[in-house]
């Protein structure tokens, strides 16, 4: 191992060391400085990853800083940094104390950074499970609310079952192919049936992680129970990581025509049921959870196409979705008072009393609805474009129709913000950290929406 090898996995080292450092020095430092350390570590890791050249050689046994990792690690770091910025004031309001929160966020970041670097299924699986593991802890962090612990237990029980499924899938892939190396494992033509069974079981596990129907039922409960910054992080990083895992596996394996129908079914069910279920939700976090189900359905639609365009659309949508959900949950987190504002009607008139946060929330909703020029439009455009190009026209039309219907419930929030006068308690003034986080997220939405060229270039490089 040379120094250059170490440099190339530096983002992973930074996050791991950051997590340990926060844990060790937690009792000695103020919580503000812990958050600052966490943000610094994530930003440093992200910047380092963005500015180093990717290689295909293994730096350390089992890890390689691939082009894909170069694209995804900055994205994960962005999400983690925003989450940490948001969580500081939120935790103060909610009485969540201690170094555990920033340390666990950094641990989750560490695991997400390992995931795209993995060159074999063992590391891939461990990274994926570590991500979930960190979220089991983060979701139940709020000891003052019963829902938080309940959500944690639900997530853990279902997550463990899903993990067993995923592991079983990997076991079958290994048994069929005789190697755990990603490059070799999926290319073997023999033992086709065992491998296809393995794929089936993995899909089941991933349906849970991506919250695709019928593995989606945990999503609303967990989003509702978790602290809002954690929901922001959970709905972005863990989803994108799971999508990246599927992408890595699908891109390496030879075309598996038998997977088309299950993937299509998962995608259609998620798009339609997610949007329909969100339609009548009164609770904003549950509404966003169901919308997340629908959005993962769109993402699966792009995965299904199996082409390079489709994979590009997945990465683009991952970035877009990260920006949108960070903005939405960020605004929710920042607008919370002693209690979170649960109902959509609790947001009435906040567009005037809290212009920045109301505006960010409205922008996020407009983007989620896919209305130009927000980023959501570009993301959806590419998804449907790739699906149509791959010949999945019927699926694309179902997607377009359900996306059109979804505008209704997103714009309901906008209408509440700007077209009603509310008597809900006024929010606390926005703190500097929250302001920075919200501005970054909404800026990302706008920049991707108006000028997606550079991002598309980066994605093209990531798929080399």
């Amino acid at each position: 191992m040379t120094l250059a090898d170490l440099y190339s996995i530096m983002p992973i080292i930074i996050t791991a060391v950051g997590a340990l450092f926060v844990l060790l020095c937690g009792p000695l430092l103020l919580s503000a400085s812990l958050t600052a350390i966490g943000v610094t570590a994530s930003v440093a890791a992200g910047v380092w990853a963005a500015f180093s050249t990717p290689t295909s050689t293994q730096a350390v046994a089992g890890l390689a800083f691939t082009p894909l990792a170069r694209f995804l690690i900055p994205l994960f770091c962005f999400a983690a940094a925003i989450t940490l910025l948001l969580s500081h004031s939120y935790n103060e309001r909610r009485g969540i104390k201690g170094e555990e929160f920033p340390a666990t966020v950094l641990f989750a970041l560490f695991a997400t950074c390992v995931l795209p670097c993995a060159t074999n299924m063992l590391i891939l699986f461990l990274a994926l499970e570590s991500v979930s593991f960190a979220f089991y802890i983060l979701v139940s962090m709020d000891l003052s609310r019963a829902e938080s612990g309940e959500a944690g237990l639900k997530y853990l029980l279902l997550g463990a079952v899903a993990a067993a499924f995923t592991a079983f899938g990997f076991a079958l892939l290994f048994t069929g192919s005789g190697t755990l190396q990603l490059s070799g494992a999926l290319a073997r033509p023999e033992n086709r049936v065992i491998i296809s069974a393995g794929w089936g079981v993995i899909l089941v596990g991933m349906a849970f992680k991506l919250s695709l129907v019928p593995g989606h039922l945990w999503t609303p409960d967990v989003y509702q129970g978790a602290p809002a910054p954690v929901s922001a992080f959970l709905s972005t990083s863990s989803k994108v990581a799971a999508a990246a895992l599927l992408l890595m596996l699908l891109a390496l394996s030879p075309p598996m025509p038998e997977l088309r129908v299950p993937l299509a079914a998962l995608s259609v069910l998620s798009m339609v049921l997610g949007n329909l279920a969100a339609l009548r939700q009164q609770n904003i976090k549950r509404m966003l959870a169901y919308s997340s189900v629908a959005h993962m359905g769109y993402l699966t639609l792009a995965l299904l196409s199996g082409s390079r365009d489709g994979y590009a659309a997945v990465l683009l949508y991952g970035a877009v979705y990260t920006a949108m959900n960070l903005a939405a949950f960020g605004a929710i987190s920042s607008l919370s008072v002693e209690q979170e504002r649960e109902l959509i009607t609790d947001y009435a008139g906040l567009g005037f009393t809290a212009p920045l946060r109301g505006g960010v929330l409205a922008l996020a909703m407009i983007s989620l609805a896919g209305i130009p020029p927000a980023a959501g439009f570009i993301g959806k455009f590419f998804i449907f474009y790739s699906a149509i190009k791959a010949g999945a026209i019927a699926l694309a039309i179902i997607g377009i129709l359900s996306a059109a219907a979804s505008a209704y419930f997103y714009l309901r929030v906008v209408a509440q913000l700007y077209m009603h006068r509310g008597e809900s308690p006024a929010p606390k003034p926005v703190s500097l950290a929250e302001g920075i986080a919200l501005c970054c997220a909404s800026l990302m939405i706008l920049v991707i929406g108006v000028y997606p060229g550079p991002l598309l270039g980066a994605i093209e490089a990531a798929l080399q």
Binding site: L217, W218, A277, P372, L401, A407, A415, L456
Partner: protein, 625 residues
């Protein structure tokens, strides 16, 4: 120079809108008002300069929006007679309406939001008109829809207004989806979304495909242009401020559908069926709108239905393949309809926001300027000979007549009947509002300026016919200008034929005028008395817009809500749990099935998850067998 003009034309309102949206509240009111007008007039000046510099159809590529993978969408604009005429009209009408708005909205606190939306609307509309690629057009299309949604619900404190906004949004959304599907399909077929390229490649496809595409575009146009059966939103859209109605829901946005079809006519024109569908939609809508306008009592709703009807005429023109005639009517209509709405705005402002025409009267003396301009507008609408509306409407009817065939001749007759009804209801309006006595008005300094704005519109409406005089009067400017447009190769009429048809139409308009005079001018007192009584069933049928709202509520909205409610509560959480329990006890009666919904349980989640696993694995095993 052309690229500079076009860029500036788009940039002015965009920057204005963004500035007001972000910082409008911090700027002084006068500055916002002046800037808002200045940006739009700047836009108009650019359009005029572009028109002066115009030599021939031209694609101007400003920048690459994205060009990655094999999809490249440049930001390119297309300037041809059609888009040029539209931009000049939009700049002018919107400019006047901005000035009008300044005075109309004097008392409103929310001026920043209002002008931000108005400016953004102008930007989106210009993007729609100028876009060379369909995605750019779609962007503008969505943009105008969004601005319109927010402006209809501008006075949101009244829930009815917010509802109207939502209704407009949903109805036009149906059209948007059709457009999106059509775009996706077009891309799949041709591999490009450039309008000029697509237009040139229509012959490559079988006619059935073109027909389907044409129908999809027609649905899109129905939503945006309020054509039957998606017209229900427009009358309700009158909930917004009157200048908004004038600008968006009469002069500009609602013509976007007509513009889209005219723009893509070289493609769609390949299919006779699609053209016929467009013509029928137009004809039926024209008739529908006119009959509904007959029975309305609300001043703005009369005008709204007349808009639906007039856009129906334009669609009829497009369906007959006469882009020139349709555009001619579009332009003239923009002038006189803006005029009518702004005049109505003056009346409403003067009458303390009273909109019931039966409670008005005698305004002829107290608001002479409004009266004369409104009279000109009504004459144009009615098609009284020698006004702009007369020539433009007539060129459409002429084109329909010349197209020949049973279908088009029937539509011609329908158009004539509609013209008669139109003349009747326009003057009904004039007589009820301006004739008679009891003219108490509320004067304000703003009212004078608002009335002055009407003058240029009145002149344009009155002499709009000069744009495209019939051939026997020396031919028109517009026809020559549009000669370069493809697919406008209609058989030309002989002068005698043309004069004959115009005589018929003119005579009908005069008959309408006369009938209206007899009923509402002379018999005014009697009508007033009748209005107090319970309306007859025919009248309420017409007044309610043929009960389309109720029909939709019954056929679409309730099942939709029921379905959503069912899927959300019942399938997702209740059925799975209840059926599991019901399976065990063996008696899963329907009542228990739906009545018992205990949710939030991990076990239910696990069972559905495992069921998914069983299904996926079962499918794979079935394949392997």
């Amino acid at each position: 120079m052309l690229p500079t003009y076009l860029t500036l034309m788009l940039l002015f309102p965009l920057l204005g809108g963004l500035t007001f949206a972000v910082a409008g509240r911090m700027l002084p009111r006068t500055l916002v008002e002046v800037l808002a007008c200045a940006t739009v007039w700047g836009s108009f000046v650019c359009a005029a300069l572009a028109a002066a510099a115009y030599t021939g159809p031209q694609v101007v590529t400003l920048a690459d929006w994205f060009a990655t993978f094999d999809l490249a969408i440049p930001i390119s604009l297309y300037l041809d007679p059609l888009s040029l005429a539209m931009t000049v009209m939009i700049g002018f009408v919107c400019g006047l309406i901005h000035i009008y708005s300044v005075f109309y909205m004097r008392e409103d606190e929310d001026y920043a939001r209002y002008f931000a939306l108005l400016n953004l609307f102008v930007f989106a509309m210009l993007t729609l008109v100028l876009g060379e690629t369909l995605p750019l057009l779609y962007l503008g299309w969505e943009g105008v829809g969004f601005c319109s949604y927010l402006l209809i619900g501008f006075w949101y404190s009244d829930p009815a207004n917010a509802d109207a906004g939502r209704k407009a949004f949903i109805a036009t959304r149906i059209g948007d989806v059709a457009l999106m599907i059509a775009l996706a399909w077009l891309f799949q077929l041709f591999g490009t979304l450039s309008i000029t390229k697509v237009n040139g490649m229509g012959f490559l496809m079988p006619v059935s495909v073109i027909t389907m595409l044409g129908i999809l575009f027609l649905i899109a146009a129905m939503g945006k242009s309020a054509q039957v059966p998606l017209m229900v939103w427009l009358p309700d859209a009158m909930a917004g401020p009157t200048p908004v109605s004038a600008m968006i829901h009469a002069a500009t946005m609602v013509t976007a559908g007509v513009y889209l079809l005219a723009r893509l006519l070289p493609l769609i024109g390949g299919s006779e069926i699609a053209l016929a569908a467009i013509a029928i939609t137009g004809g039926v809508t024209a008739f529908y709108g006119a009959t509904c306008a007959l029975a309305q009592r609300d001043l703005k709703r009369v005008l709204a239905y007349s808009t639906i009807s007039q856009i129906g005429y334009m669609m009829l023109g497009v369906g007959a393949g006469a882009v020139t005639a349709a555009t001619f009517h579009l332009l003239v209509h923009a002038f006189f309809k803006a005029l009518l709405f702004l005049g109505a705005g003056c009346v409403i402002a003067a009458m303390h926001h009273e909109q019931d025409i039966y409670k008005m009267g005698g305004l002829r003396r107290s608001l002479p300027l409004t009266f004369w301009s409104f009279l000109v507008g009504a004459a144009c609408l009615a098609g009284i000979p020698l006004t702009g509306g007369f020539f433009s409407k007539d060129s459409i009817l002429l084109a329909v007549w010349l197209k020949g065939g049973v279908l088009y001749q029937t539509l011609y007759l329908l158009g004539l009947i509609t013209a008669l009804i139109t003349a009747y209801y326009s003057f009904r309006l004039v007589f009820l509002v301006f004739a008679g006595e009891n003219g108490h008005v509320h004067r304000s300094s703003g009212l004078t300026v608002m009335q002055v704005v009407l003058i240029p519109l009145a002149i344009l409406g009155l002499f709009g016919g000069l744009l495209d005089l019939p051939a026997y009067l020396g031919g028109g400017y517009l026809s020559g200008f549009f000669a370069s447009l493809p697919a406008d190769d209609l058989p030309s009429a002989s002068h005698e034929q043309e004069i004959g048809l115009q005589t018929v139409a003119g005579a009908l308009a005069l008959v309408g005028l006369l009938t209206a005079y007899l009923r509402y001018g002379k018999g005014r007192a009697e009508r007033m008395r009748e209005a107090q009584a319970q309306p007859s069933s025919l009248i309420s049928f017409l007044a309610q817009g043929w009960y389309f709202d109720r029909l939709y509520d019954l056929v679409l909205i309730r099942p939709y809500h029921a379905l959503a409610r069912f899927l959300w509560q019942r399938v997702d959480e209740a059925v799975i749990d209840a059926s599991v329990d019901g399976l065990g006890s063996g008696v899963g009666g329907a009542g228990r099935l739906f009545g018992r919904w205990s949710t939030g349980k991990v076990a239910v989640y696990l069972i559905s998850f495992a069921a998914g696993a069983a299904l996926i694995l079962g499918y794979l095993a079935w394949l392997a067998l």
